[in-house]
């Protein structure tokens, strides 16, 4: 009897575990510094990475500013108190055991293989260069050499600090200053690895660049920093993916992404965010507090953010665009799915400064279980932004009577020639559509998956091919068990 029960439970557990298939833990020697945050820790991180003096100064300034700041309370989120002293701010899985072999631990390679991110160039999907980051360190960057032939720099930010200090110094903190907000200050103080991309004038990046972030070590936070600079007339498409193991305690992820787009350049930034969302009881999961911003400095420049947000226990993220260049264009496409006890407060800011700037916002929120999903967006038309144009559309889909879907758009217009349009709808899945599918033998859960995918299509279509396939799968998996 007892055996049978065990057997039954095992099956249940297996089924439950399947929902988050990236929840495994890599057993690898990781060099983790003591928990806690103080000036010494920052000096230690800086020393480990062999950073120059100016960067340490930058970190310390950010840290002293962070100390004066309080955690913001305005998001529509219930965030349990975070003990910033109980987190380790640096974990290096590539650190060599003194007597161990000197190349990359095969366990790490296997981990990324398992995640579908092969780090050996011959195995890689054609046309994608990858920077793989685990915990605080970049494990490997592929296709570096072939990109360098074109003059494109694609490497981890630590490497960029060493090899291209002038470029980093020029752009770091120029889009998101360390005083920007609470988490930006924290990140600026303790940031570890991330990617650095520089596309020189007139170069069209021949392949998709991609970074894969993974949190592995226990009780650590990931504070990555990404900096993308697209010089005049260049083009780059950049992808970001993230996963984390299933752990009972919450993990903190506070990242900064800065993008500089110069004249006539174009940057496409796509994210599939699949951090561990916690279990069905709301236990564990990643806190994802991210500041992402692009500065369209040059005339006729273009930036597009596409995000599929399915993971994280709490998401607090507003990829933004500052449209300074005349005729610059910005786009934001987002699908955010929350299930169980997940909370998301996400959206964008479009700040129009240059003349004839255009921005488009398409946001699709899907809430299920007991989750809360909010869109929060700002559209600002400055007095100088003659002829600025914005269109926003935010739709929310409700899949249960215990979840919430909220829309908080802010529109500030200081110009008489600007046109801003905003529309939003909230509804549940149409019973007619469900009935139609059922009638044709499609079970309810599958039907919901189909309808949701159709609903999110506007956004999914904007993703690069490989990502779109993954994102579609993710949507179905995230909503598993949310019907009935």
């Amino acid at each position: 009897m007892e055996n049978l029960k065990q057997e039954k439970n095992k099956l249940v557990r297996e089924v439950a575990d399947r929902k988050y298939e990236y929840g495994f833990i890599t057993d690898v020697h990781t060099d983790i510094i003591e928990k806690g945050l103080n000036e010494d820790v920052i000096r230690l991180i800086s020393a480990r990475k062999g950073e120059p003096e100016w960067l340490l100064d930058f970190r310390l300034k950010a840290y002293s500013y962070w100390l004066t700041q309080k955690m913001p309370t305005w998001p529509h989120l219930q965030i349990p108190e975070i003990d910033y002293q109980a987190i380790s701010y640096y974990a290096d899985p590539t650190a060599k055991k003194k007597d161990g072999p000197q190349e990359i631990d095969p366990e790490l390679m296997k981990t990324f293989d398992k995640l579908g991110i092969p780090l050996e160039e011959r195995l890689a999907l054609s046309g994608t260069a990858v920077d793989a980051v685990m915990d605080s360190v970049s494990v490997k960057t592929t296709f570096k050499e072939s990109l360098r032939e074109k003059g494109i720099i694609f490497c981890s930010i630590s490497e960029a600090v060493r090899e291209h200090p002038d470029l980093v110094k020029q752009y770091l903190g120029s889009v998101v200053p360390y005083r920007d907000n609470f988490f930006a200050a924290l990140n600026s103080a303790v940031f570890s690895d991330g990617s650095f991309v520089y596309v020189p004038k007139g170069v069209r990046c021949p392949m998709e660049l991609s970074t894969y972030f993974r949190i592995n070590a226990r009780n650590t936070g990931q504070f990555e920093r990404t900096l993308i600079v697209a010089d005049d007339d260049s083009y780059v498409s950049y992808l970001e993916g993230c996963t984390a193991p299933m752990r009972d305690e919450n993990q903190l992820h506070a990242a900064i992404v800065e993008i500089v787009v110069n004249e006539r350049a174009e940057v496409k930034y796509s994210t599939v965010q699949n951090w561990y969302p916690g279990d069905s009881e709301g236990k564990g999961g990643v806190y994802n507090f991210v500041t992402k911003r692009g500065h369209l400095r040059g005339a006729d420049s273009k930036l597009s953010w596409t995000q599929v947000e399915t993971g994280s226990a709490i998401t607090w993220k507003y990829p933004s665009c500052v449209l300074s260049g005349n005729n610059s264009q910005a786009e934001f496409y987002s699908v955010a799915v929350t299930n169980n006890y997940q909370q998301a407060d996400t959206g964008t800011k479009m700040i129009h400064i240059g003349e004839n700037t255009k921005s488009t916002i398409i946001s699709k929120g899907i809430s299920a279980g007991k989750s809360h999903n909010s869109y929060r967006g700002l559209v600002k038309i400055d007095a100088r932004a003659d002829g600025a144009r914005n269109y926003s559309s935010c739709d929310s889909l409700l899949l249960s009577d215990t979840c919430g879907a909220h829309t908080f758009p802010y529109i500030d217009v200081k110009n008489d020639t600007g046109i801003v349009e905003h529309e939003a709808t909230t509804s549940k899945i149409s019973e007619d559509q469900l009935f139609y599918c059922n009638q044709r033998g499609i079970p309810a859960e599958e039907a919901v998956g189909l309808i949701v995918n159709g609903y999110a299509k506007d956004v999914l279509n904007k993703l690069p091919m490989e990502f779109a396939v993954e994102a579609q799968k993710l949507l179905s998996v995230s909503l598993e068990g949310s019907v009935g």
Binding site: W74, H76, L77, Q78, H372, I381, A383, S396, L398, L399, S400, D401, T402, C403, G404, A405, H406, T407, F408, P409, Y410, I411, D412, V413, K414, N415, D416, T417, G418, I419, V420, E421, H422, E423, A424, T425, T426, S427, K428
Partner: protein, 471 residues
């Protein structure tokens, strides 16, 4: 020193005087309101609800208060000929906060309808007034457990979002209020004439006025109310108004507010509406001319199948400032809310609109529509808009839309082609733009009058309603 300090001191000094000049019903809520006010103080611009209007600055000057209830020696019936042609109304005046007791010969309500001074009503009908006075606000400021996101921490319900925080201006009004208006429509009574109330602001010194209005419609009652705000004096006036409206089951209320004050006038109006089963309320506020205005409207839908229509039109120029803040709280199933606000902003004026629709857990089958459209005519006019949806139920249909833009070039071109001058064409388009809000007015004579006033306003021919002009 923060602005609230002077009001805290004033209250402490004049507590006795306030009691001696007002009825016990009004007096009973003062101390509690004072405790709230002392705790929360006046909001600064960091407070989300007041981010578009600087309350600290508005309340910082040293205003006088008419605590001794000195009579102003004017008879508004003599000086005002504020009438709407072809509309017969019951006309009443409130001078600052005092109900003008001298009755107009034609103004006699029928069928047990009470229209009187709030203070007097509290004295004459203490049970009736105390049943509603302050209670609609109190209910609005009490969080309801588990009907929206939140959790119980240490046995106390902590909502995800603080929807029910007490309002400082309401608290200030409650602690200092001495009089105002009481309107009571008994069960199944229909007021055959519209009730028109003209709020006249007059003073020789800078003055703070705290006016309180209580409107009670019992089951099946029907009434139409028109409030006009006028200012007669060229001094700085700060008026706070708290209006509580109780709409009983199956009652119908149309409430129109028209503001035509001058640039030195600051108005803070908080309107609390509580609606019960199958009640229907239409609120329509037109800001035609003002100084600084902040209107807060909170509608609580407590009975099933109730309907709320919330409309607003704003025409602002020069340095005028109009901020409308609305919250429609769907607490029960099958209610309908429609919201439409339109702004035309000229010169250096500032417009703000923050409209929240809250659909709580139990409010299934809610239908809600919110629209805000704005015209910025100059480069220096500034519009903020924030149409918000907060939804905790799944079987709902909610839409909102907001636009900020200019006059349609094609339409302008079309009219110019036909020999209409550019200015005239612009005017026609602006007029049509605001016309959508005015067309929602059900009283035909009033609608015509408003069209006329709006047109004159756009032509720059009046800063005030001509009928009310003092000269």
């Amino acid at each position: 020193m923060k602005s609230e300090q002077q009001y805290i001191e004033l209250f402490q000094q004049c507590r006795q005087l306030l009691s001696s000049q007002s009825d016990v019903v009004l007096d009973a809520l003062r101390d509690e309101a004072f405790r709230i006010f002392k705790r929360i103080g006046l909001p600064d611009k960091k407070a989300e609800r007041y981010k578009y209007t600087d309350v600290q600055e508005a309340f910082s000057p040293n205003y006088g208060l008419n605590l001794n209830r000195l009579q102003f020696r004017i008879n508004p019936y003599d000086v005002f000929k504020c009438n709407v042609p072809n509309m017969s109304t019951l006309l009443y005046f409130i001078v600052n906060d005092a109900f003008h007791s001298k009755e107009y010969p034609n103004a006699k309500p029928s069928g047990g309808i009470i229209i009187s001074s709030l203070n007097e009503a509290a004295h004459l009908y203490p049970d009736l007034v105390s049943k509603y006075y302050g209670q609609i606000v109190r209910k609005a400021e009490t969080p309801s457990i588990n009907s929206e996101g939140g959790q119980i921490i240490d046995g106390e319900f902590v909502p995800l979002r603080k929807n029910n925080e007490p309002d400082a201006i309401t608290a200030l009004n409650t602690m200092l209020v001495q009089d105002g208006l009481f309107i009571y429509v008994p069960k199944n009574t229909v007021s055959d004439k519209a009730i028109q109330v003209v709020n006249v602001l007059t003073s020789t010194v800078d003055l703070l006025v705290n006016r309180r209005v209580l409107v009670v419609l019992e089951e099946g009652a029907k009434a139409k109310l028109l409030f006009c705000d006028e200012s007669m004096s060229d001094v700085n006036m700060l008026a706070t108004q708290v209006m509580e409206v109780y709409a009983g089951p199956s009652s119908e209320l149309e409430l129109y507010e028209l503001e035509e004050t001058n640039m030195k006038n600051k108005r803070f109006s908080n309107l609390y509406v509580q609606q019960h089963d199958k009640s229907k309320v239409t609120l329509n506020s037109i800001s035609l001319h003002n100084g600084l205005t902040r209107n807060m409207t909170y509608v609580s839908l407590e009975g099933e199948e109730s309907v709320i229509n919330l409309y607003g039109g704003v025409i602002a120029d020069k340095e005028q400032h109009v901020d409308n803040h609305t919250l429609v709280d769907h607490k029960v199933p099958k209610c309908v809310s429609n919201e439409l606000f339109k702004y035309v902003l000229d010169d250096n004026s500032v417009g703000a609109f923050a409209g929240r629709i809250l659909v709580r857990n139990d409010a299934q089958k809610t239908e809600s529509q919110e629209t805000n459209a704005n015209l910025c005519v100059t480069k220096t006019a500034h519009m903020f808009t924030q149409p918000m949806l907060e939804i905790y139920a799944d079987d709902v249909k909610c839409n909102h839309g907001a636009t900020v833009g200019q006059l349609n070039e094609a339409a302008l071109f079309y009219m110019r082609q036909r020999g209409i001058s550019l200015d005239e064409a612009k005017l026609l388009l602006k007029f049509a733009f605001v016309g959508e809000v005015i067309d929602k007015v059900d009283l035909e004579p009033l609608r015509d009058r408003l069209h006329y006033l709006v047109e004159k306003r756009f032509r720059g021919e009046l800063n005030k309603c001509s009928g009310c002009r003092l000269c």
